[in-house]
């Protein structure tokens, strides 16, 4: 079966092998359009409807630049597709009709540079084999994960240069030898470089350092599962519920305000609406693999779980719980409280869960690592002036008054201390 578990660890360990072999030195590519940045933007904004190789809600994006007559028009299309359609562009209108007259979401916030970044990313992606999964295509995945897609190229160049340098050194030493012979003081037979202890030691050292670096990175990533997107027992689309139908997150995840757990809603919450909503009539749904999903059949699955007979309009069987696959898994030694972040911290769900209203199938947006938590605690401001709880922090209040600081971060009130989260 198609494995969707993308665990960084494995990619890292594989990349150790590849990268150690090619002795790639990390580069920071300075370029007008940055595919790495493009990837990020793509994942945040486009990936819910588009795939590079596959048709999802929207068309596959490979070769998209070639399909559009004018790059400017493409920019405009992304900014506001309706305006392009209105202009009567043939390609655009054909596309619109092909996709059941489903308009593409407008992204007025994306700059032209952002779009170019995305296009650059698509171009890089195009070059890779289709259907590359972590298992089937570890090499590409590994290279990709390093976030520098020119690495391989640079690696090869480096290798060639290194070989050339070696050859030149060899020639140099040969010439030296010849010169020495000519002058009458013969030099001893030079040790070939592969037997030269200094070279070997240097080689081992480099291998050790590079290998060590990636081993440690891999070890740190153990158990982390960013982008984890398991298949769920029911194809439940957050995009349909929270996005299109604008249902408040807290309607279902009521615990987020009260408890450490946000709570996966119990089936009776689903039935509040689905007693009436028996059919799915929204936009077509597709799985991540591009398989079409019958929304009505998914609702029927819910009825089966909960024991509801839709025709008779009553419960006819005892309900069974739905065994969802948990996506966001924190280690046991971490205490995390949703209500702390939602009520006291006034954080939006999207801060940690990403553009959930755009996701048909939910994936883990953040890596949920300690560094990620800490970074946020360092930069996020608490409701210092508004929440009277903080009135006891007299010195900080004084500092604000004295204009020594302009705001108070979570860290300044003890938010990065061990026992904030570990006990």
């Amino acid at each position: 079966m198609y494995r969707r578990v993308s665990i960084l660890l494995r990619k890292h360990f594989v990349s150790v092998l590849i990268l150690c072999a090619s002795i790639v030195i990390p580069f920071s590519a300075v370029k007008a359009a940055d595919p790495a940045k493009g990837k990020q933007i793509f994942q945040q904004n486009c990936a819910s409807c588009h795939n590079v190789h596959k048709k999802l809600t929207g068309p596959a994006l490979a070769g998209v630049e070639g399909r559009w007559a004018d790059k400017k028009l493409l920019h405009q299309w992304i900014h506001n597709s309706a305006s392009v359609l209105a202009s009567g562009d043939k390609y655009a209108n054909d596309l619109f009709n092909e996709y059941n007259k489903t308009a593409m979401t407008a992204f007025p916030s994306l700059t032209n540079e952002d779009i170019d970044d995305i296009l650059a990313f698509i171009k890089v992606e195009e070059a890779k084999p289709v259907g590359g999964t972590p298992k089937e295509g570890p090499a590409t995945a590994g290279a990709k994960e390093q976030g520098s897609d020119n690495s391989l190229l640079f690696g090869i160049i480096t290798l060639i240069l290194a070989v050339v340098a070696l050859i030149l050194m060899q020639i140099n030493s040969n010439l030296n030898k010849l010169a020495g012979d000519k002058e009458g003081h013969p030099t001893p037979e030079p040790i070939p470089f592969y037997k030269n202890k200094a070279y070997i030691a240097l080689g081992i050292l480099v291998l050790f350092m590079v290998g060590g670096y990636f081993t440690i990175q891999g070890a740190i990533g153990l158990g982390r599962q960013k982008d984890y997107m398991p298949e769920q027992p029911i194809f439940y689309s957050h995009k349909v519920h929270a996005g299109i139908n604008q249902i408040n997150c807290l309607y279902c995840h009521a615990g987020a305000e009260k408890s450490k757990h946000a709570m996966i809603p119990s089936e009776n919450i689903c039935m509040n609406c689905h007693k009436a909503i028996k059919e799915y009539s929204g936009p077509e749904l597709f799985t991540a693999e591009g398989k079409k999903v019958d929304g009505t059949a998914e609702i029927a699955k819910l009825y089966d779980y909960v024991g509801w007979d839709a025709e008779k309009g009553k419960y006819t069987k005892p309900g069974r719980p739905i065994e969802w696959t948990k996506i966001h898994n924190l280690p046991d030694h971490v205490y995390f409280n949703h209500s702390q972040h939602v009520v006291a911290g006034k954080q939006q769900c999207q801060t940690c869960h990403g553009a959930i209203t755009e996701m048909d199938e939910v994936h883990q947006f953040a890596d949920l690592s300690m560094g990620w938590c800490i970074n946020c605690h360092r930069t996020t401001k608490v409701q210092f002036a508004d929440n009277n709880y903080y009135s006891i922090f007299e010195k900080l209040h004084q500092d604000i008054k004295d204009k020594k600081i302009d705001s108070v971060t979570v860290e300044m009130v003890g938010g990065t201390e061990c026992q904030k989260c570990h006990y």
Binding site: I7, R10, K258, E267, P321, I322, Q340, G414, E417, Q419
Partner: protein
């Protein structure tokens, strides 16, 4: 102030070589290598390579493993009141064996995880005891019966009902007996009465394992009421305890300890304090807390009471007693007379005559109506011993048709258990409601297991008008059924017990709303407390005195039986928490033993100076008395009468009782004797000999030594009122450093505490050493149980221990209890030495412990002056990554037992250091609640588990930055004279302060003081 020397054990007092050796070693054992030694092993290198290869391979496999897939399974229909992650609290009642403790049960996701006292009860006021705290673990006891049985095979309730009904119908008029311990529930009694009324000649026999029959009969003879009055220790200025351990085990200790504590709160402004005299044979918790304590032989208990009666003006003559005791009686009598009307005498004797004399004394000193309330009797114990002996006789005569056992366990705790067991065989229908296959249930044909009290509905009467309720806090775990339901069914009443109880109370209270409120509050009490009532004494003093004077004199040695604070009468013996709780006096765990004085020990050549206290192996003694013999290890307890051997009951349980209790200690109940009227819990003539064998006893008293550094401050009330400043004379040294000396003499910058700074204050005067805090902490913080063997190695895990210090006369020492837990030092020595920064300081003054960083170097424990850090030497919780490392001696890791774990606190794995966290999970929760509500943290909103459990309110906790907090006031306003820090001279700046102990006794003679100071110098020279 006295400069006394404190010692935890006699070894320390005499500073023997063995003791010096043990204090040198932080960890009291060798490194766990095989004895042959690693270096002498035959193939150390190859083994090393093997292990290296294995670990590398294991790490590789572990690293390449798939991340496990977790399921999140929501409710189908979420109950409205449950929010996962948020605790619900339900009121309930602990009424086992006649104790009355209204409680509040904390449940998470539908499972009870912690018990607190119910603050709405005016009787116990939110207090609990170790036993009460421990019952939440008993709920998940794997040894509980899981279904009804007939002849030992599983059956259904329908089948059981059919067979029992048939058997009851076929008795042919033979009497049915319901045999129980004391029951406080009026509704249950009503159900029982209705059941018994159906069968002619039936009766309800109450058998209390530790009987108060003598008291009940004496009260009947004195006042015409066969009942236990309500005691009001809080009204007493002079209290005399004649062997009544009212702080630890007597009747309802939770209530009395709380009352007594109210009379012990002293400050420079409030100098009134009660005076407690104790006359006893062994060292009880009450004796340890007494201002003046005297020891006598167990057989002299009556004579002591008589002498006291004579001394307060009764017209009796008492037999001659030891000169010291007589002097004590004189003093006590003087005090009782001085505080007539505010005086109270209580006795632990089960002898009718002794109790009658005690009633006479109380009558003379005006206790009736002031400290003893006869108008509102309590009914905490109801068993009459002769009823029980008669029942056993009748059973043996074959005249009893049916015995239904409800809570009682006479096959274990009746003095002639063999006769009871024999008699039970002659009974046509034998049935037990008990929760496990205990000694009696094993012998019964039918087992109809009752619910645990946390699964059941119930009510309880503390005293007239004072009721407490119990409601299910969890669905029944097993196929058990409330005993009341069973009885109702066999009475032919089809009402369910829950409905029956509700109907009773809706009728009594007037409405459904009132009943709902009663359940919510947990208690129903009169709006105004009823007036205390006296009674006119009309007992036959002369007759009782004659019988006491005529009693046989004791032999060479005497044996006295007592209850331990944690294990009590043994009913809850299969509770690993309670088994591992160090006894307050002996500091021993997991066993009972023969407590003897040092004088007596010398006759077994186990005197001071040998390695007695250091080695876990203790000499075994064979004690012969009353034609019975019992073999137990000896334990030297300073302060026990030299000719007395004290043995705790509650041990030596049957093999089916459960893994924790089975095979631990010896059963001492067979040593009880029947004097024709009541049971005697002592024997007057015993022979003792050493068997020559050794037996290990896991003591904690010599663990964690302070090497004689002064850590206790103590003075007498007289000296304190004369010069309150004397207690902290030595702290004046600090004055020369100015007001703020905190950053002096340290390389490290001091920590700012911008918001909250947590602090704790512990009053040594109201800490009685009962251990409720230890068990509360264990329940709250998932503290591991390690078992006897590991305790013997000093590996116990308790985050709060109660150090017991002796001082003064080695034959009758004074005792101080000092709860010791992490002091959360502002200048913490442990923090500096951690190589991985696993322990560090928070901005709220908490010394944090990040378990996942800890690599177990133990540097921190070595550097801790208070010895409060605990290393997980083994995998107690199955928290290791590798399987089969689990070390569990008490079924603490069964999936059922693990339901008791607090989900907000992690379990720690092997090789990790842990210690008190100030219940940080509670602090965070309280802070979050305040943040969500948008107001500053209120004082008292955050309570630690130990603080909440303490019935005497000895522990105060709060934010010292808040000038309106109680803790701030104690430190800066109310108790400046008594407030001190332990080992303050080390400048570690602890966050916990102690309040000096004040003893209400005559000032010590100056000479003795000098002598002891001299002695101390000699030890340190």
């Amino acid at each position: 102030m006295e400069q006394k020397k404190y010692w935890k054990g006699l070894e320390e007092l005499h500073n023997t070589e063995a003791h010096q050796e043990i204090v040198k070693n932080e960890f009291s054992e060798e490194l766990p290598f095989e004895s042959e030694g690693l270096l002498n092993a035959t193939t150390p290198r190859r083994d090393f390579l093997k292990y290296l290869g294995f670990t590398t391979a294991a790490a590789t496999i572990a690293a390449s493993c798939e991340t496990p897939v977790h399921k999140a399974i929501p409710y189908v229909n979420k109950p409205e009141e449950i929010t996962p992650g948020v605790a619900n609290y339900y009121a309930s009642s602990y009424t086992i064996d006649g104790e009355y403790v209204p409680v509040v049960v904390k449940t998470r996701e539908g499972r009870p995880i912690k018990i607190e006292g119910n603050t709405l009860s005016s009787i116990t006021g939110g207090s609990t005891s170790a036993k009460v705290q421990g019952t939440v673990l008993s709920l998940y006891d794997v040894a509980r019966l899981r279904f009804p049985t007939i002849g030992g095979t599983e059956t259904t309730w329908a089948e059981l009902d059919k067979q029992v009904s048939a058997a009851l119908a076929g008795l042919g008029g033979a009497p049915v007996v319901l045999l129980s311990t004391s029951i406080l529930s009026p509704s249950t009694k009503k159900v029982i009465d209705a059941f018994l009324a159906k069968y002619p000649n039936s009766r309800h026999v109450v058998h209390d394992p530790v009987s108060y029959s003598g008291m009940l009969l004496a009260n009947e003879a004195s006042y015409g009421k066969r009942t236990i009055p309500s005691y009001h220790f809080e009204n007493a200025k002079a209290i005399v305890s004649l062997g009544a351990d009212f702080i630890g085990t007597w009747l309802n200790p939770v209530e009395y300890a709380r009352q007594f504590a109210q009379t012990r709160k002293v400050s420079a402004k409030q100098l009134e304090m009660s005076k407690l005299f104790a006359f006893e044979s062994n060292m009880s918790l009450t004796g340890a807390n007494a201002d003046e304590r005297y020891t006598h032989r167990p057989s002299e208990a009556g004579a002591v009471a008589l002498a006291l009666l004579a001394a307060v003006g009764g017209s009796v003559t008492a037999p001659k007693l030891d000169a010291k005791v007589e002097e004590g009686i004189k003093k006590a009598a003087a005090e009782l007379k001085k505080f007539a009307g505010k005086a109270l005498v209580v006795s632990g004797s089960n002898d009718v005559n002794t109790q009658l004399i005690v009633n006479a004394i109380n009558n003379i000193v005006g206790a009736n109506g002031t400290t003893i309330d006869w108008a509102n009797p309590s009914g905490y114990r109801q068993g009459i011993d002769s009823d029980m002996t008669k029942l056993v006789d009748d059973m043996n005569a074959g005249s009893i048709g049916a015995v239904l056992v409800y809570g009682a366990n006479p096959a274990y705790d009746y003095f002639d258990a063999a006769k009871f067991s024999e008699g039970l065989k002659k009974v046509k229908l034998s049935l037990s409601f008990n929760d496990r296959l205990d000694e009696t249930t094993e012998l019964c044909k039918f087992a109809a297991p009752d619910h645990h009290f946390l699964e059941n509905w119930n009510d309880a009467q503390g005293k007239p008008g004072y009721y407490s309720f119990a409601q299910p806090t969890i669905s029944p775990l097993f196929k058990t059924r409330a005993a009341q339901d069973s009885l109702l069914a066999w009475t032919g009443n089809t009402t369910a017990w829950a409905d029956y109880l509700k109907a009773e109370w809706v009728a009594k209270l007037g409405s459904q709303e009132a009943w709902d409120k009663a359940l919510q509050d947990g208690v129903v009490e009169p709006t105004t407390a009823p007036a205390l009532g006296g009674a006119s004494f009309s007992g036959d003093i002369a007759g009782a005195a004659a019988k006491i004077s005529g009693a046989k004199k004791g032999g060479k040695y005497e044996v006295v039986l007592y209850e331990k604070v944690a294990i009590g009468n043994g009913r809850q013996a299969n509770n690993p928490w309670l088994q591992e709780m160090p006894d307050p006096i002996t500091r021993a765990t997991w066993d009972n033993y023969a407590c003897i004085s040092n004088t007596l020990a010398k006759t077994f050549s186990a005197q001071l100076g040998d390695d007695y206290e250091i080695n876990v192996e203790k000499k075994e003694l064979k004690i012969k008395t009353n034609g019975k013999e019992i073999v137990l290890p000896m334990l030297i307890v300073p302060g026990i009468h030299p000719e007395t051997i004290a043995i705790a009951v509650g041990y030596g349980r049957g093999k089916n009782i459960g893994r924790a209790a089975a095979g631990i200690g010896q059963n001492a109940y067979p040593l009880v004797s029947f004097n024709g009227q009541t049971f005697d819990y002592f024997t007057a003539d015993a022979a003792v000999e050493a068997t020559g064998k050794m037996y290990p006893v896991a003591l904690t008293q010599t663990h964690n030594s302070y090497e004689g550094r002064p850590i206790i401050k103590e003075t007498t009330l007289a000296e304190f009122s004369h010069n309150p400043k004397e207690v902290n004379e030595d702290r004046r040294e600090l004055d020369k450093f100015g007001k703020d000396f905190r950053s002096d003499a340290t390389l490290y910058s001091s920590h700012p505490y911008p918001g909250i700074k947590w602090g704790m204050s512990i009053d040594l005067n109201t800490c009685f050493g009962c251990g409720a805090c230890t068990i509360a902490c264990q329940a709250e913080n998932n503290v591991s149980v390690v078992g006897k063997e590991e305790v013997g190695k000093g590996h116990e895990m308790h985050w709060i221990r109660i150090d017991r210090y002796f001082s003064g006369d080695e034959n009758n020492p004074e005792v101080v209890f000092q709860p010791m837990l992490c002091q959360h030092c502002d200048n913490a020595p442990c923090e500096n030495v951690c190589p991985v920064g696993a322990t560090n300081h928070s901005s709220e003054g908490i010394n944090q412990m990040a378990y996942n960083r800890c690599i177990g170097t133990r540097y921190c424990a070595n550097n801790c002056p208070y010895k409060v850090r605990r290393l997980n030497w083994r995998d107690w919780n199955g928290a290791d990554s590798f399987e089969n490392n689990l070390y569990d001696v008490a079924d603490m890791n069964d999936n059922l037992t693990r339901m008791v774990l607090n989900p907000d606190v992690v379990v720690r794995s092997r090789g990790v250091m842990e210690k008190c966290s100030f219940c940080v999970q509670r602090l965070q929760e309280a802070k979050l609640d305040a943040k969500k509500a948008g107001h500053p943290l209120k004082d008292g909103a955050a309570k630690t588990a130990c603080q909440q459990a303490c019935g005497a309110d000895a522990i105060v906790f709060g934010n010292v930055n808040d000038k309106n907090s109680e803790i701030y006031k104690i430190r800066n306003e109310e108790q400046t004279e008594r407030m001190y820090y332990v080992l303050e001279e080390t400048h570690v700046l602890p966050s916990i302060n102690y309040l000096a102990k004040i003893r209400n006794k005559d000032a010590a003679p100056k000479k003795a003081e000098k002598e002891s100071a001299h002695k101390e110098e000699a030890h340190h020279a």
